[in-house]
Amino acid sequence: MKIIPKTGGQEFFSQGLSQEEWLIQIMELYEDKVIRLAYTYVKDRKLAEDLAQEVFVKCFVHKDNFRSESSVKTWVYAITVNLCKDYLRSGWKKYIHVIDRLGKSKQSSAMTPELTIVQKSEHEALADEVLKLPLKYREVILLFYYKELSVNEISQILHKKEPTIRTLLQRGREMLRRKLEKGR
């Protein structure tokens, strides 16, 4: 199997690979990263799997749109983020969300929120609180800390200016700190 650089740029696209080989290599490099990033948005495993598949199909279809201004990783993440946001905005998602909430409200009667929190470890509580953050803070926190991207890369993915990203990071951290202190 041909080896491709982990942070490939334009050269990644000009290695003489067939389209299918190219797609397979992209998937090998980013499949778990993409599916897990999708999960942080939709918080549903099945949905994340479907969205990750869509991401790679999109990568394949829009391969020619890739510009060497950013890395392949940033490009793939940007497609993932956009697709997840499109899904979250869609009417179908809103419908599912209502059904989901109804189901959860019935289940939650068995265990009080206090008991649930006590039973969780600190790490789980942190992960929980991160995933409960409002989307605009959550995505920045997760891209920065979980995906370990730089502020510059995040600004490219989210199409926001770097100072905006820094502000969102700061506010997200503050919000998280308050929530964790409250939970103790």
């Binding site: 389209q19 299918e20 797609l23 397979i24 998937m27 499949e31 778990d32 993409v34 599916i35 897990r36 999960y39 495993r45 994340a48 799997e49 990750a52 598949q53 790679f56 199909v57 394949f60 279809v61 790490h123 789980e124 942190l126 992960a127 991160v130 926190i141 997760l142 800390y145 979980y146 370990e148 951290r173 998280l176 964790l180």
Partner: protein, 226 residues
Amino acid sequence: MEDPLKQLPEILNNGRMKNISFKEEHRQKVLQKTRELNRPPAPKSWLYHWFHQSLSLALGVAFIFIFIQFAQSTPPKADEQKDAVQMVKIPYANQAILTKARHDMRNYHDVTGIDAYQKGDTLTVHIIFPDNLSRDDQIDLTKSYLKEVSHLTMNEPYEAQDYLGALWNYVNVKVYTAGSTDDDMLAARLQVEFGFDSLGSIDKKEGILKWERISDNNQHLKGNVQ
């Protein structure tokens, strides 16, 4: 103190993300989708071609039929079109005079309907009287109407008329008798029991409307209205 968020990759990857991975079946699905995208479209069945061609033919025939129908429909005659344009373009002052005269005749005299229109500089008036009115009364009422029009025309300042079109130089009056009706438009369809035409001229400077009966040979009358 270390930022707990720095442990986030470890926490998530070993925690809730542990079982979330892209499996071989997902990979195959992606490859399947991309192969479908690249596949050339399947050839259409003969039924599709037959239906498509029949539909095209039917639409073509329908279009030609409509086009022929449209081409065959005769355009309105030029004269009729010109008349219609002239009738619509009655100058404002003249229209006001006609409206006022009609209003007065309906309110102060026993007249069923008045239909007046202008063609060029000639005013044509159709007056419909109730059928119980004597002929002399009809003639008197016709004079009243002409007098009304005359007075209104004379009172209109001519300087103001410059841009409103020419006032009438001649007045043609056709008088019909008919049963009581409020609908002026019926005048065109009414049977003429007897009628008389008057041809008149308005002397703008002297303020006189001269008129002459040109039909109804039994009484060839002339008159002035001042």
